[in-house]
Amino acid sequence: MKFKDKYAIVGVGYTPQGRVPGRTMLSFHVEAAADAIADAGLTKKDIDGLISYRHFPAAIGEPDVTPYLVAQHLGISPTYMSQEANCARSHLLHAIGALESGLCNYVVISYGHNALSSDSMRKLLYQRGSEEMVYGHFGASADYALAARRAMHMFRTGPETWKHIAVGQRKWANLNPRAMLYDETMTFEDYFNARWVVEPFRLFDNCLVTDGGRACVITTAERARDLRHRPVRIMGIGQHNPSDYVQRASHLAGPTGAKKAGEKALQKAGVTLGDVDACEVYDCFTYTVEITLQDLGFFGPGEGEDWFAGGRIEPGGAMPVNTSGGLLSESYQMGLTQITEAAMQLMGRCGKRQLGPATQTKEPQIILCTDNGGTLQTSACYILGRL
């Protein structure tokens, strides 16, 4: 089944984000979803599909965030509903499948978390297997740091490469009033002066922890034409899930799942890397951005430091990357940070950070997005374009 250009993103939903205490995880899902529905120019009566992102452990006193609970609070009765239990990041693919099969016409994809103000993240850390916790091993930073360290052993990479990613993305965040670090500039010196977290990662190699939510609405290209904003067409999707147990994995220093996912997405879209105007790359850590772009084929192993140098990914650069500031400098909304930013850029709604003349960059026709989960165990790539 060919789905190229048959489906489109038509609305984006935001919530207050950053440190937003006194809110449940559910409330961010619900507010973001309602905002996305209104943004698309739709009403709740139109929404017959709901996909909620993987949820984290509910904080004390809060319910488990299931899609039916989100639906209940939105006052909708979808004919299609789904949620992934873990990090597969298949939501756009599921939305297309549901639309293609005729199960529904308008799908909302939602994410929300009160990660900064609740005890949810601590619960998540302590859910690690005992084979890890007995050695004091907790959380994603250290797993990705293990991957990054192996990469440092295999090819030329490390903080001298990652500083360009951290600083470059911060420059985008400084143009985005919604970004958690909008007011905080960063120099290379700041990057190196920041404290170690799990070496080889310093503080600014790590993504933000956020209270907030994000959502978007997907429908057919045909229906999209009647809605409020210029639709964003879904040109291609690819996925690859190496899955391997981190301890046994051979993909930590690449090639990760991004390689096959990227090849498939570009092939489905019928375009090449040369046609891509900007990238929104899942950036849980700086190294993730490097290895993803490397595996996509933008540069060879060890060539990242030279490729990033000179501001290539920054405002004014030849290949803008993570134009909202990304997970490192805007906010952590899982893969929806990337998808919604690409959609907003292609709709032309990004203000000071808008790709094109406003930022001395190419007017965007095609944006490549990625998403990954686990420790590079799952990867997805999406090619989005102007309709």
Partner: protein, 135 residues
């Protein structure tokens, strides 16, 4: 002194491994069909799907595949250990296991460095395999 860090949580899959550790032995499942030595423990071989398995005892020697240095204690009981090293150790028999590198400064650890097991008896019941530079 009471041991207050997390303890191994034993389940039907990993029981043989932790029982082995109590005897200061690194026990792994080896597929008798294809010879693959697997970790984590599992009901079948992920390489060939055979369920025919024998337990082998690893010699306790290997190399550091990768390592990190913790500067943040995500669990309060590890605060006094900072900075400490968590590593993936590739054993001579094939499997890679997560552990700590002890007996040297964090700055002296390197990828591919030869290491050997050293047992830490944490309670009367449990022992953890840790690794130190090969003497």
């Amino acid at each position: 002194m009471e041991y207050t860090k997390p303890l191994p949580a034993v389940n039907a899959d990993n029981e043989q491994f932790w029982k082995g550790c109590a005897d200061h032995e690194l026990r792994f499942q080896k597929c008798t069909q294809c010879g693959f030595v697997r970790w984590p423990a599992s009901i079948i071989c992920p390489e060939c799907h055979s369920g025919d398995t024998e337990l082998i005892r690893a010699n306790g020697k290997g190399t550091v595949y990768s390592f990190v240095v913790y500067h943040v204690a995500y669990h309060p009981e590890f605060k006094d250990d900072l900075p400490y090293v968590v590593a993936l150790v590739e054993l001579d028999e094939g499997p890679r296991i997560l552990s700590n590198i002890v007996g040297c400064a964090p700055g002296d650890v390197a990828c591919d460095m030869p290491v050997e097991v050293v047992w830490e008896d944490i309670t009367g019941e449990w022992s953890l395999p840790k690794f130190r530079p090969l003497s």
